[in-house]
Amino acid sequence: MHIMEGFLPWQWCVFWYLVSAPFIIYGIYLLNRQVKEHRETLSLLAVSGAFIFLLSSLKMPSPVVGSCSHPTGTGLSVVLFGPIITAIISLIVLIFQALFMAHGGITTLGANVFSMGIAGPLLGYAVYRLGKAVNLNIFINIFLVTAVADLFTYVITAIELAAAFPATHGGFMISFETFFAIYAVTQVPLAILEGVLIALVFKYIIQSRSDILVSLKVLTQEQTAKILESFS
């Protein structure tokens, strides 16, 4: 999902910076509040951030198409801390990759943080709330959230590029099909794998720190007791 340095016309760079800025500003505020008022959640914040660091560094082959791509790792953070705080963690990872690996870029940072840190997580969060409303099994819910956040990130990248580079014949839609095939199709197997991994990790978090999950309102006391019982 990384749009490389210089690969977006400057008008689009400015546009995506402007779109992302309000989320980032609000995110910094929320993150500050989280750290100050809920210090007990700090360790899980570090763990969810670390998963974004770890997973977004892995370039994995996508068996369906024969190209490589990387997961985003945002699912855990979306469920535990919401999409806006996830945007800040993604921003840090993207700056790191842009400066040291020349992967992504500073001019394209606005567009990249919008796809990975904002749009993907927001849709993932919508899935999470919906799953909660219909009382979906928490592990299936987390699988879906993670897979959707990952996959949608790449759909957004395809939209961003199609908007900036519409085909001369056929315009946006033709161009979108090209980028969609490159980015989103590759991502399907990776999104599934990532979803299963994060669901598994979530089990360990319930076993280790169910108290924090209760204070983050992800699960109630009764739910955690029931889940822990089912694993014993």
């Binding site: 560094s57 369906v64 024969g66 190209s67 400066l99 040291f100 001019t107 490159i182 590759t186 299963v196």
Partner: protein
């Protein structure tokens, strides 16, 4: 029920690896000389943009001098993440065992 999620994860990984191996065998046998298999989607995206005749207007301040150095940096990123994850899961476990002991 105790290890349901672990089993599902292991099965998905095995399927993933198996499909990869089959697909790889197929790709390697049909690969034309000069073609590169398993390219990064980010690079393919960039190439699709270059194909439209677009010239990037700015290049990165610093680019890793080789793919080896680049993969080193990606490994460091993964290592940092894994270190923090391992640290806290170990910390949680130690804490739990201590409270169980008393």
């Amino acid at each position: 029920m105790k290890y349901t999620l672990e089993i599902i994860f292991a099965v998905v990984v095995v399927i993933f690896a198996a499909v990869f191996l089959i697909q790889n065998a197929h790709i390697q046998s049909t690969l034309k000389p000069g073609e590169e298999a398993w390219q990064g989607s980010d690079d393919m995206g960039s190439n699709a943009i270059l194909a439209t005749g677009y010239t990037p207007w700015i290049s990165p301040l610093w680019t890793p001098p080789s793919t080896e150095v680049e993969s080193l940096l990606f490994s460091i990123q993964a290592g940092l993440g894994a270190f923090v994850i391992g640290y806290f899961f170990g910390f949680y476990r130690g804490k739990r065992e201590r409270s169980n002991a008393t």
